[in-house]
Symmetry: C2
Subunit: 189 residues, 2 copies
DNA sequence: GGAGTTAGTGATTGAGTACTAACTTTCTAT
DNA sequence: ATAGAAAGTTAGTACTCAATCACTAACTCC
């Protein structure tokens, strides 16, 4: 139907891929599912990207970059405790609105281990670089305190895990968090 | 070759499955790979288990139960700060010796989300129950302090993530951790 | 030593999937 | 208007993988 420039198409492929890979991971997602979501024929994906791996890589990088941007925008002009709360709330809002995001993140992490073991270090390099950008985007607003940064990210990872496992908001596991995290319990979609 | 009782075989299937699923996840692991590792023909797996899903479920439950046991044994007779250090070190040792474990854990978490979305709540229930047992096994030794428990598990999740991504031990990301965590950086295998 | 049960295999099937090749349609520039 | 490029499709290939079926080999108990 609506024609698009290859660049625009690639963009929508990446978006669709993020959602599809989020639920199925690399192996559990067919290129056909991605194509269907984009609204384009499956073979056409291979014109836009050299292969499935490239699509996954692009989606992975985008995922990390997006998260970094959320932190940067939230913390803009703030410092210390204020920045911390702003980033925590922004992250809460992000994954409340788009639960795919944290799933895609987790898929990326496990995919790195697999790739690395299979001898593909390129993917790992890209992901680690993306993570470090994210790390910096948290590190600076928190007063360049490594301990604070680690703690913040640690809580974030636990949040990801609990949301992925589907613990409802009223569950005990949420008690140990900052108040707004309560909202994170399973949001059907 | 060596004949075994069905129960013993099931046991070795679970062990093999944990390792295979750890690298490939549910979809990235073939039943043939599992069978090969066990040293048995692929169709025979379907005598021991009703299907691939059942194997994954068994491996998932075993994975959580094993981790819980590590915490329980480490914290036995200890309380508070002492228990904390004992458990942290035990976990470090666990995933230094068997990196598959944390990968399998992460595979379980993402698999729950997928299963849940596909309408299969049974798997999620089992995993959440397993997680709560693990949670309790940390909660009690830490003086039944929810905040401490959450923090401890949060650091654990971040450790999992960083190890999965393959950050080497001398990397900055490990600075924010308790000293022994330094050992966690990629252990080739 | 033979009947019955339990452990295990080989051959196969049917569905799904990444990717290719050859073709068609729409836009754009002169 | 039309050549050529760019966007997109249909048809097909080679392969992998979960699951089934029909069968054989070994153990157990009388």
């Amino acid at each position: 139907m609506a024609r698009m420039s290859a660049e625009e198409r690639r963009e929508s492929v990446i978006r669709a891929a993020m959602k599809e890979f989020a639920r199925g991971g690399y192996h559990g997602t067919s290129t056909e599912a991605i194509a269907r979501r984009v609204g384009v024929s499956q073979p056409y994906l291979f014109r836009l990207f050299p292969g499935k791996k490239a699509i996954f890589l692009a989606a992975s990088e985008r995922c990390l970059a997006d998260t970094r941007r959320v932190f940067e925008e939230a913390a803009e002009g703030l410092e210390g405790e204020e920045a911390l709360h702003a980033m925590a709330n922004a992250y809460t809002r992000l994954i409340t609105e788009q639960p795919d995001r944290l799933l895609m993140q987790m898929q990326v992490y496990v995919a790195v281990a697999a790739a690395e073991e299979a001898g593909d270090h390129e993917f790992g390099e890209a992901v680690r670089a993306g993570w470090m950008e994210l790390w910096e985007s948290v590190h600076l607003p928190l007063g360049a305190d490594v301990g604070e940064t680690t703690t913040f990210l640690a809580y974030g990872m636990l949040v990801n895990t609990l949301v992925a496992m589907g613990f409802p908001p009223e569950h005990r596991v949420w008690e140990g968090f900052y108040p707004s995290a309560r909202l994170l319990g399973r949001l059907e979609k």
